[in-house]
Structures are given as structure tokens and as C-alpha cells.
Subunit: 228 residues, 2 copies
């Protein structure tokens, strides 16, 4: 039973990594769609949403099953409930990628006139944050998690910069408004993805603190596992 | 033990309602701060954030304790894990209220020049969505939950409208940019609060479906509780 439990925990970690990779691809492709003339890539991102939703449900059911059948205590319990929250966050990131892909379809035919350099930089940082926050969860590495949180500021600054630049850009020519609006919305979606990665990293810091508290305790009783 | 468990579940429901009321007040006050000349109300919203964060931790610990000590099955298990997700969503709504209060401090001294009518309508709808989504969770009322989801469209439309109006407004006078930016950011925060309430309502629909499935089953074994 105990061995079986640890195999299933390994399976859970593996499924989260697969889910995270799918989300990373969705982010990358949704932004790639902005600079491609046809709707192929945007359509693909939207088409893959169902699969990601199914992954979320599967991971959620796996967590419920682990909770119901194995009645884990303390840190294992926290690990599984955190996995449920992280799973939820990953699915929301996929939603934001779909929003970006839909914005890309709206401007389809005409070249994206927004600040593609800044948008691409935001997307790259966000992808790295998704990957590394998830890896910090798997490795229970609080130091890596803190480093992920620190990258959020750059994304926030870029998001502000996109907004300011677009407002200046449309000044005097309201025909540019739809393109500017698309850029601002895309930027906001990337900013939300970075925020959700920060949530994951913060969750990791909790778990590691809990493990440390447990480590210094004589017995295995439930303790207040949060010292935020 | 069984009776104790149901008392603790009642306590959990009560704590969520108290948390929801605190979040509702934070939303109302953050928007009220926009039309008051001093910084008192905005400061209060920001000052109450710590208390809401503590409530979140307390509810989270209560859920973990219920999971660890009572090993609930099927629908009770789903109820508690859903409570953890909803708790998380409520805390994020409080964060959005703090963002609004901070935006209000930035424009402090000068009257808020944004479309206060639309912003106030968004805030009112969002507050109602928070209250009713939480109530639908307590009552396990899928019909009410569906009705809450349907209100999200109006908030999305108002958010678009604020954006368009602000872009038109600043056209030709870039001095208006900071005020327009504040209005757009406040609107986006309210839109996110409505979105998070929709998440809660969707979670309720899951739970009620699960209870119906259980109701039609001969035994109490774990079933796939999602049919989204």
C-alpha cells in the first residue's frame, strides 16, 4: 500500500509536468500566431484547449483518489492539495493563451501592429516562469521558487510599458484603436500568466517551510503549515 | 466522531461566509474610495488585507485538518477540496480590491475623472456575484450558480466599454492618460473579481453533479465526479 502510494505520487508529479509542458506550448504558440499570416497556429492553440481541460480533470481526480484511498498526513496532504491548486492555475494559464490566440484571429489578415518585441519578451519570461515554478514544486526547491517570484516585476513593467506605448501611439489617430486594444489585452493576458506562475512559486515556499517545521518536530501531528 | 465532523463542516461553511462578507466590503469600499476626497477609505481597504490573508490561512488549515482527521469520502471530500479552491479565489478578490484602492491613492487629491457610473455598476454586479456564488456553494444550489455565471457577460461588456470610452477620451489630450489608465486598470480588476466568482459558481455545479451521481449509485465508491 505504502509503495503503491509513492508510485501514484510519482505519477501525479509526471502528469503535472506533462500538463505544464502543454501550457508552455500554448503560450509560445499563441504569441507565435501574432506574427504568422494565416490562422493555422491560432486555431491549433484553441483546438488544444479541450485536451488541457481533460488533463486538469484527470489530475484533479487523481488527487481526490489519493486523498480518499491513502489518507495522507501533514506534508503529503499539503503536497496533494497544493497539486490541486497548481493544476487549477495551469488550466487558467491555458485559458489566457486561448484569449491571446483569439485576439490574434481578430487581427488576422493584417500584420500585428503592436509592440511585438515587448510582447515576445513577456511571453518568453512567462514560459520560463511556468516551467521553473513547476520544477521548483517537483523538486521542493524554495530557493528556485523565490527566484521565479522575482521575475514577475519585469513582466509587470513590460505590461505598463505596452499600455503607455499604445496610448501614445493611438494619440491623434483613432483608426489605430483596435490594434492598440489587441496589444493591451494580449499584454494583460501574459501578465496574468506570470502572476499565476508566481502563485505556484509561493505555494512551493509554503510546502518547503512545512517540511522544515515537520523535520524539527518530535511527532507527526498536524501543525500550522503556513508561516507567510 | 461523525457528529463532530458535521459540526466542523458547519464551522467551515460559517468561516467561508465571514470571509466572503469581508471580501464584499473590500470591493465596495475600494470603489467608494474613488469618489471620496481623502485617503481614509482606500487606506482602510489596504489595512484590512492582512486580516483577510489570515482568514485564508485559517480556513486552509481547517480544511487540511478535516481531511487529515476524518478522511472524508466522495462528496464530502469534494466539498472540502472545493472549499480550499474557493478560499483561494476569495483571497485573490481581496487582492484585486487592494489594487483598486492603490489606484485610488494614486489619483488622490484630484477627483476621479473616469466613468464612475460604469465602474460603480461593475462593482455592484461583482459584489452580488461574490455573495450569491458563495451562497450557492453553501446551499449546493446549481441553479443559482448557473444564474451567477450568466451575469459575467454584462461585466465583460462594461469592461470593454470603459476601455473604448477611455481611448476616445484621451484622443487629442495626452494629459488625460494617467486618469484614463487608472480607470482601465480599475475596470480590469473588477472584471477579474467577476471572473473569480464565476469560477466559484462553476465549482458548485461540479459538486451538485457529483452529489446527484452519488445519489444514483448503489455503493459509495469514488466516481469520476466531473462531467464538464
Amino acid at each position: 500500500m505504502e509503495r503503491h502510494f509513492h508510485e501514484q505520487l510519482r505519477h501525479l508529479r509526471h502528469r503535472l509536468i506533462v500538463m505544464g509542458a502543454a501550457v508552455e506550448n500554448a503560450i509560445a504558440d499563441s504569441v507565435k500566431a501574432l506574427s504568422t499570416p494565416d490562422d493555422l497556429i491560432a486555431g491549433e492553440v484553441i483546438g488544444r484547449e479541450d485536451g488541457i481541460n481533460r488533463m486538469e480533470m484527470e489530475i484533479d481526480d487523481l488527487c481526490l483518489m489519493l486523498l480518499a484511498l491513502h489518507q495522507p498526513m501533514a506534508v503529503d496532504l499539503r503536497f496533494i492539495t497544493s497539486a490541486m491548486k497548481i493544476n487549477n492555475d495551469l488550466e487558467r494559464m491555458a485559458d489566457h493563451s486561448v484569449n491571446i490566440a483569439q485576439a490574434s484571429l481578430k487581427i488576422s489578415g493584417s500584420r500585428f501592429a503592436g509592440p511585438l518585441g515587448m510582447i515576445s519578451e513577456m511571453a518568453e519570461i512567462a514560459q520560463g516562469m511556468v516551467r521553473d515554478s513547476l520544477q521548483s514544486f517537483i523538486d521542493e526547491d524554495a530557493e528556485q521558487a523565490r527566484e521565479v517570484c522575482s521575475r514577475d516585476d519585469r513582466v509587470d513593467r513590460l505590461d505598463d510599458e505596452v499600455f503607455k506605448q499604445m496610448v501614445t501611439w493611438i494619440n491623434g489617430d483613432s483608426n489605430l484603436m483596435p490594434a492598440a486594444m489587441a496589444a493591451v489585452l494580449i499584454s494583460k493576458n501574459l501578465e496574468r500568466i506570470a502572476d499565476l506562475s508566481t502563485n505556484i512559486a509561493e505555494e512551493v515556499i509554503f510546502i518547503v517551510q512545512a517540511r522544515n517545521i515537520k523535520h524539527h518536530q518530535e511527532d507527526g501531528e498536524i501543525v500550522d503549515m503556513r508561516s507567510k
